[in-house]
């Protein structure tokens, strides 16, 4: 087998297919969102650093996988929170994640609802008040073979699941959590035509020996059966408590003894 040498190909391509990169799309969708403006305040959003990963095209808007992460290591500062917005949803706020020294790697994956094709926005805020924003356009289209009928509503707060790594002191370890909940938006009609009341998990918290390490506030744009993947950086051995709290006042929890190696 022979391949053309990369260099010849490169030159040939340069000659034949020379394009100028298009101007960067204005990344200012956050300015049209009141809650995002409130977060940014007087700060001037900074450039690269905050990475938002979403598929370009999603075939199922009811659960679009999303990862957000802040990459650079800040000196004498750290990311305090990251907030997600879906600009085309009836309620644009999706979720807010709060990091501490015991959750020192600012990276979270979850699954979100996207009503239609739209721009998703992330805003990161540091302890010192610095701000970063990031945006991604997602096309939502229901694949022809995926049209489906009514789904069953999951039982709320049943079966909390947590997957923990083998932690090493001071190093971030990946944690995954999943719990059943309908995350009823308050916008949907039930089978009898009546609007189903809003019914969602509002907060998720992880405490290590009684001290909050990671917290998430969830809005109706988080998919049913909320899934969260994030990192904990436990400093010492002890008890980890995972708590989910919904807007009816019900709560679920999961406890685990953390050991460090």
């Amino acid at each position: 087998m022979s391949y053309p040498s990369p260099l010849t190909t490169r030159l040939a391509l340069a000659g034949a297919l020379l394009f100028t990169a298009p101007p960067l799309l204005a990344s200012d969708a956050w300015q049209r969102l009141e809650p995002a403006r409130a977060l940014v305040g007087d700060a001037v959003p900074e450039g690269d650093g905050l990475v938002l990963e979403l598929p370009h095209v999603s075939e199922d808007g009811s659960a679009v996988p999303l990862t957000v992460r802040f990459e650079p290591v800040l000196e004498d500062d750290a990311i305090a929170s990251i907030h997600l917005f879906a600009t085309g949803n009836p309620y644009p706020e999706v979720a807010g994640f709060h990091f501490t020294e015991q959750a020192a790697r600012p990276e979270v994956s979850t699954r979100v609802r996207l009503n239609e094709s739209q721009r998703v926005v992330a805003v990161a805020v540091s302890r010192e008040g610095r701000v970063w924003t990031s945006e991604r356009e997602v096309r939502v289209t229901v694949s022809g073979c995926l049209i489906r009928g009514d789904e069953e509503t999951p039982e709320a707060l049943a079966n909390p699941r947590v997957s923990l790594p083998d932690f090493r002191a001071g190093e971030p370890g990946e944690v995954r959590t999943l719990i059943t909940h309908p995350m009823e938006t308050g916008l949907r009609e039930g089978p009898d035509g009546e609007v189903l009341p809003r019914y969602i998990i509002e907060t998720f918290r992880v405490s290590l020996d009684g001290e909050t390490a990671f917290e998430a506030e969830l809005h109706p744009s988080v998919s049913a059966n909320p899934y969260l993947r994030f990192y904990l950086t436990p400093q010492a051995e002890g008890e980890a408590l995972f708590e989910w709290q919904d807007d009816s006042g019900e709560r679920a929890e999961y406890r685990a003894e953390l050991t460090l190696s």
């Binding site: 087998m1 022979s2 391949y3 053309p4 990369p6 190909t9 490169r10 040939a12 391509l13 340069a14 000659g15 034949a16 297919l17 020379l18 394009f19 100028t20 990169a21 298009p22 598929p55 370009h56 095209v57 999603s58 075939e59 199922d60 009811s62 659960a63 996988p65 096309r139 289209t141 229901v142 694949s143 022809g144 073979c145 995926l146 049209i147 489906r148 009928g149 009514d150 789904e151 999951p154 699941r161 947590v162 997957s163 995954r176 999943l178 059943t180 049913a224 059966n225 899934y227």
Partner: protein
């Protein structure tokens, strides 16, 4: 399923490095076709599956003076559609085999049984195994899918010999069938189903149905367990109702929120582990892994970072590289599903666009239809249909057209749909290869 080793710097990186990733909108229209031989144009088609064979035939039908070369390594093509029926014991492999005689003899397509190894989009050349080079004015790629080996931990090419995917019909399908036949009664068939997008959204569930049917005839105590990386799937309500009706509780489905996403495969021990640490032991393990466009698309520089190929919907020409049209499973064409029916429909649109472009005309306004039939049992068929048109330059479903089989229906209706499925299969194979099943 071996692939040639690739040079370290691939064409796609090269193109992206040059900024081609941005967009390559209408460049194809700029260059007037230069016909070396003064004929009506040379079109090379890579892949003799649903998309490629249809494209070759419809190019010739559209303009018999075109020089059309079809490149396909296999001289017999086994269709994935109805390969599940082979697993269910309803058909033989020979009944899903198709050849290329009619394309060659009746339509005058030059059929070359070789593999395309590389594409030079600048020189407009394709190089084949055996050293032959083909020049083209327009190229059609319909390479189908490739497996993303190791995207699912533990699932590589060696693992596929133990835990077949059978997501390309042929030896893998036979292997899975042998394993099912060799399984003890009382065993469990475990299927690992992937997240979207993937080839044939209802395919895994039709397969589970056919395996359950086979068990009901030959291994009455055997079970089917589907571990899914999704919370819902194609025709879910219809499948679930059909399973209950025909197979009782033989088929169990565990979705994403029930910890159904498999994150590690141990093919040697036929064991899988899910995201939250549940282990499942299988007697026969069928892993339908994450997929991407056939690798030759990477060589052409037409795939994007999703691993699939973005196209201009009106012509199915690549948005990245001019004069290359891509159809079938390799493309990003949602809401059209990755089905044989769609590959066939897209190929006709691409063929019409190429015939028009080479004659200096603009492409006709396209529309597409799709129907996916699935067999839940030998006499129990269900379907989903859609009609697609262009809206704002993108493919959109036509509201109110198409739809699902009714949830409540008599056995007679399900029996009729099973017959329509056979009618559909015969018709599409006739249209694609000209061969009866």
């Amino acid at each position: 399923m071996t692939q040639p080793t690739r040079p370290t710097l691939d064409r796609r990186q090269l193109l992206q490095g040059l900024g081609a990733a941005a967009s390559l909108p209408l460049l194809g229209g700029l260059a007037a076709p230069a016909f070396a031989n003064g004929g009506d144009g040379r079109v090379v088609v890579i892949g003799g599956g649903f998309g490629g064979a249809t494209a070759a035939k419809y190019l010739k039908r559209g303009n018999p003076a075109l020089q059309v070369t079809l490149v396909e390594p296999q001289s017999t093509f086994y269709t994935c559609p109805f390969s599940n029926l082979f697993l269910g014991g309803l058909r033989e492999m020979e009944s899903i085999a198709h050849g290329y005689d009619e394309l060659r003899d009746r339509y005058g397509v030059e059929v070359v049984h070789a593999r395309a190894e590389d594409i030079d989009p600048v020189a407009h050349k394709v190089s084949l195994t055996g050293g032959r080079e083909l020049a083209y004015d327009r190229l059609v790629l319909s390479p189908g899918i490739d497996i993303r080996w190791n995207a699912l931990e533990g699932y590589d090419e060696a693992a596929a010999d133990l835990a077949p995917h059978a997501w390309k019909a042929g030896p893998q399908t036979r292997l899975l069938k042998e394993q099912l036949e060799g399984m003890e009664d009382g065993g469990t068939f475990v299927m690992v189903a992937p997240a979207n997008p993937f080839r044939c959204p209802p395919g895994p569930y039709e397969r589970a149905s056919m395996v359950a049917h086979y068990f009901s005839q030959h291994k009455p105590n055997a079970k089917v367990l589907i571990l899914d990386a999704k919370d819902n799937f194609s025709k879910q309500g219809l499948f679930t109702a059909g399973w209950e009706r025909l197979y009782g509780d033989r088929i169990e489905w565990v979705g994403l929120s029930g910890d159904g996403r498999v994150t590690r495969v141990d093919a040697a021990n036929r064991e899988v582990e899910t995201e939250f640490g549940t282990r499942h032991q299988a007697d026969v393990l069928n892993v339908i892994p994450p997929q991407k466009a056939g690798w030759i698309a990477d060589r052409a520089g037409v795939t994007d970072d999703s691993g699939w190929v973005p196209v201009q919907p009106a012509t199915f020409e690549s948005t990245r590289v001019p004069d290359i049209h891509v159809v079938g499973d390799a493309t990003i064409a949602a809401p059209m599903p990755k089905s044989g029916f769609c590959a066939n429909a897209q190929a006709k649109v691409a063929a019409a666009a190429i015939v028009a472009a080479l004659a200096g005309r603009s492409a006709p306004e396209p529309y597409w239809t799709n129907t996916c039939y699935s067999l839940v049992g030998p006499e129990y068929g269900i379907s989903v249909a859609g009609v697609y048109r262009l809206a704002d330059g993108q493919i959109a479903s036509v509201e109110g057209a198409g739809g699902l089989s009714p949830m409540e229906a008599s056995d007679e209706v399900r029996r009729m749909e099973a017959q329509y499925a056979v009618g559909w299969y015969n018709a599409i194979c006739q249209d694609t290869w000209g061969t009866e099943a």
